[in-house]
């Protein structure tokens, strides 16, 4: 198996006297989908924010492509090749797909004061990249506000991939989507993975995770409860680990096994 692109060792994060992360170890290899599972409040968000350079860990080491690394800002992480698609997607509904796609990284032509936004190239690239992801846009000037949730998610993923992501962190990409759109997004994850990009898929939905995941790490109360590879574990076991075992079993009993 290939060496991990990014390896996070024993990450701890404290906010004042609150311990959000208490020793999390996690890694991603090229071309795999590593699912990070956990219930609300388990520390998933804090952890991915540490991974994407938003927070600095209080303790612990980050190794990126074999070298120790410390990100000063999200920008540093982005430049290194760690792209994060947050739940809010960093998309602006009033702006066109092209303008969103290239937001902050506009291609230019010309020099000096004539340096300008190369809108034709940008439009072409956007249309082509979206087509690769299986979405036919009405036009590159279509506002993002007119896209469905799944399509927006795909724009965000396509953007990250186009700008050379080596690791793609997806923060609950399927949480607000319908059945079909979820299927589309999971298919997109598959496509991205087959291009050799390491995908970190954060979710609390075991079914969605099982559909695309190669490895599964469960986070509970700021700690990793262990990592399992596909085939070693079944959905029920994952569900149990996420919920912290005991109480969930009781609840599930009273709900007749519907969760």
């Amino acid at each position: 198996m290939s060496a991990p692109i990014i390896h996070m060792e024993n990450i701890k994060k404290h906010y004042g006297n609150v311990i959000a992360l208490n020793g999390v170890t996690f890694d991603v290899r090229a071309g795999e989908c590593h699912c990070l599972l956990g219930d609300n409040g388990a520390g998933k968000s804090t952890f991915i924010k540490t991974m994407s350079g938003v927070h600095k860990p209080t303790e612990g080491t980050i190794t990126f492509e074999g070298k120790p690394l410390s990100f000063g800002s999200p920008r540093d992480a982005m430049e290194a090749g760690i792209a994060t698609v947050f739940q809010d997607l960093a998309m602006i509904p009033l702006m066109s797909v092209t303008r969103n796609f290239f937001m902050g990284r506009e291609p230019t032509k010309g020099r000096g004061i004539f340096k300008r936004f190369d809108i034709d190239t940008a439009n072409e690239i956007t249309m082509a990249e979206m087509r690769k992801m299986g979405i036919n846009l009405r036009g590159p000037d279509q506002a993002v506000g007119t896209l469905s949730g799944g399509e927006r998610q795909t724009v965000a993923i396509a953007r990250a991939v186009y700008f050379g992501a080596k690791v793609l962190i997806l923060d609950e990409p399927t949480s607000a989507l319908g059945v079909r759109q979820t299927a589309n997004v999971l298919a997109t994850i598959n496509r991205v993975r087959s291009q050799g990009i390491g995908v970190v898929f954060i979710s609390h939905n075991v079914r969605h995770a099982m559909a695309v995941g190669d490895r599964f790490t469960v986070l509970n109360r700021g700690q990793t409860l262990g990592t399992a590879t596909r085939g070693e574990i079944n959905p029920a076991q994952l569900q149990d680990m996420m919920a912290g075992g005991q109480e969930m079993a009781e609840l599930e009993g009273s709900l007749g096994g519907t969760i």
Binding site: A90, I92, L94, T108, I119, G139, D141, A143, V144
Partner: protein, 368 residues
């Protein structure tokens, strides 16, 4: 699936009618407004309104407001307001007057200094807004009073008790920069056109319109540059992104703080430019200069299609918004209507524009 089938257009999408495409332009409302107002005055106003001199007559106040309006539009697209620009006109006018009259600076020093001071004040506004996270509406409302008061106090201080500072025209007379900031431009073109009989001239052969007032040139140039920057440069994309969703923009690598502070600086400098032009033109400055202009500038921007919530709008729209303003203020004097209808018109126009913009935005972005 082959690439070919992928590339084929989605069969569920109808081709877009021309009108829908047109509706997507934020400046549509303002252009429609100009057409309507023109038709209105064609019918009601004296015919001299649409002669060359009549057009210059209403374009001059339109230009003075428009320079503010375009800057206000850029700032609004960037997601912020500046209510202090009217007072900034008075304050910058006072400072400029003191520089040329009391200190005796040549324009080549006085103008950059005035603009720089305005830029610093604009940046201060921006910093306060960003640091405190308070709405710019409130922060610059404070600026509205502070600068107006400072202008008044400053005038009294430097004139020995008067609220008007005179003698500016005499002080700048003969300065090589004066023609760029005052009087009329392209006089030679007008003379040539008069000789050729294309424009009206007096019996002596002097054209009735001696040239294009410089503010109109500044206005048109500013509108063109602002539109270019907004639509065709990365900075333009950053402005839209910053106003659309500052956090999303920041996460995508847009320098949101820099964009906002630059825009505050720009509006303040636009106010200073208007102050310099109008003060030289009038030959004096007083504390009431630029009174209410902050609201008129914002109204021009809103008529031009800017959303109050930011992230959407156009500079060229504000250009037309300002022209509507100029036409109505001046145009009413060519009609039999009471001039004070202007205020009524102003309010009605604002309300109409806001409602119209909201409907258009929903259509364009498919918000439900």
């Amino acid at each position: 699936m082959s690439i070919d089938t992928l590339a084929r257009a989605d069969e569920r999408i109808k081709s877009e009618p021309f009108l829908t495409k047109l509706m997507k332009r934020p400046e549509l409302g303002a252009i429609g407004g100009v057409v309507l107002v023109t038709i209105f005055f064609m019918i009601t106003a004296d015919r001299t309104m649409f002669t060359l001199s009549g057009v210059m007559n209403f374009m001059t106040p339109a230009a003075q407001l428009g320079i503010l309006g375009i800057a206000a539009a850029l700032l609004m697209i960037g997601g912020e307001f500046d209510l202090s620009i009217g007072s900034m006109v008075a304050f910058a006018g006072m400072v400029f007057g003191v520089f040329v009259v009391n200190v005796g600076m040549p324009l080549v020093i006085a103008i950059p200094l005035t603009l720089a001071l305005a830029a610093v004040l604009g940046a201060t506004n921006g910093m306060i807004v960003l640091r405190t996270g308070l709405p710019s509406f409130i922060v610059t409302l404070a600026g509205l009073f502070v600068l107006r008061g400072a202008a008044l106090v400053g005038l009294k201080l430097f004139t020995g008790g008067s609220t008007q500072l005179r003698g500016i025209r005499e002080a700048v007379e003969g300065d090589f920069l004066a023609p760029i900031f005052s009087g009329d431009a392209f006089g030679f073109v007008m003379r040539w056109l008069a000789e050729a009989g294309i424009v009206d001239s007096f019996k002596s052969g002097v054209p009735k319109v001696p040239g294009i007032p410089v503010e109109i040139i500044w206005f048109v140039a500013f509108a063109a540059i602002a539109t270019y920057i907004l639509l065709r440069t990365p900075i333009g994309n950053w402005i839209f992104a910053t106003g659309g969703d500052a956090l999303a923009a920041k996460n995508s690598g847009v320098p949101v703080r820099r964009v906002k502070i630059s825009l505050f600086m720009l509006t303040a400098m636009a106010a200073a430019l208007v102050a310099i032009i109008t003060v030289i033109d009038a030959g004096s400055t007083d504390a009431r200069r630029g009174f209410m202009k902050e609201f008129e500038a914002i109204i021009a921007a809103v008529i031009g299609g800017c959303l109050l919530t930011g992230g959407y709008g156009s500079a060229i729209g504000a250009f037309f918004g300002a022209i509507i303003f100029g036409m109505v203020t001046i145009g009413l004097t060519y009609t039999k209507f009471d001039q004070d209808w202007f205020q009524v018109f102003l309010g009605a126009m604002l309300l109409l524009a806001v409602i119209f913009n909201n409907v258009i935005r929903r259509r364009v972005t498919g918000e439900r």
